[in-house]
Symmetry: C2
Subunit: 146 residues, 2 copies
C-alpha cells in the first residue's frame, strides 16, 4: 500500500534534537538549522516518494539523487532559518523589545547576508533584504493570527 | 535626505484594521488578507522608493506603475495568507488540537488551492501542496524558536 507509506513518512518525524553550545545566540541558530533543515529534507523525501509512487518504480541512482537533494535543500533552508533565528534574537537583545519590528529587521538582515553570500549584485542584495523583511513580517503577523 | 525618508516609510505603518464578519472563520481570513496584503503592498512601496532614490528621479507613469504593482502583490499575498489562516483554523477545529501538524495541513491545503486555482497541472499542484506544507511547518517551528 503505497498510500499508507506516504502518510507514515509525513507524520513520523518527532523533532526534538537539541545541542547545547553554551550560548543562547548559538543555541538558537543551531536549533533553527537542525529543525528547519529536517523539515526541508522531509519535504524532498515526500516529494521524491510521491514521484516514485506515481511512476511505480525506484532505482538506486534515483535514491542516491534524492538523498543528495535532501542534504542540499536541508542545508540551505537550515542556514537561512539559523541565520534568521539568530538575527531575530540579536535584534531583540539590542532593541530590548519584542514586536514585529524584530521580525522585519531580522528578516532584512538575513536576506542581506544570504543574498550577499550568494555573490549577487548590490541592487539585488537590497531587493532581497526588502523582500525577506516583508516575508518575515508577514510570517510574524500570520503566527499571531493562528 | 533621501535616506531618512526611506526609513520613515518603513517604520510608520501601524496595522490594526479589523473587520467583524460575525464568524471566526471569516474574521480570520479577512484579517489575514488585510494584514498580509498591507505588508506586501508596503514591500512594493519600499522597493519602488529604493529604486527611485537610486535613480534620483520620479515620474508620474512610474508612480502609477508602482501603485498598480502594490495592489496586485497585496491582493496575491493577502489571498494566500487569508486562505492559509482560514485553513489552519479549520484544521484546528476539525482536529481539536493545536500543534505543528495544523500548520502543515493548513499549508498543504492552501498550496493545493492556490496552485489549482492558477490552472497548474495535477503534478505541479501536488508538488506545490508539499512545498507549502513544508514552508508552513518551517514557519511554525521558527515562530516557536523566536
Amino acid at each position: 500500500m503505497p498510500k499508507s507509506m506516504f502518510y507514515g513518512s509525513i507524520s513520523s518525524p518527532k523533532i526534538d534534537v537539541t545541542v547545547d553550545m553554551g550560548n543562547p545566540f548559538l543555541n538558537r541558530t543551531v536549533d533553527g538549522f537542525l529543525k528547519i533543515g529536517t523539515v526541508a529534507a522531509s519535504r524532498v523525501a515526500v516529494e521524491e516518494t510521491y514521484q516514485c509512487v506515481q511512476k511505480g518504480s525506484i532505482s538506486k541512482a534515483k535514491f542516491e539523487d534524492a538523498l543528495k537533494k535532501m542534504c542540499k535543500e536541508g542545508a540551505y533552508w537550515g542556514t537561512v532559518a539559523g541565520v534568521y533565528v539568530g538575527m531575530e534574537y540579536g535584534v531583540e537583545r539590542i532593541r530590548g523589545r519584542r514586536d514585529w519590528k524584530n521580525a522585519m529587521l531580522g528578516g532584512a538582515i538575513t536576506g542581506l547576508l544570504i543574498s550577499a553570500a550568494s555573490n549577487n549584485r548590490r541592487d539585488k542584495v537590497v531587493k532581497d533584504a526588502i523582500a525577506a523583511g516583508a516575508v518575515a513580517t508577514a510570517v510574524e503577523f500570520v503566527s499571531y493570527l493562528t
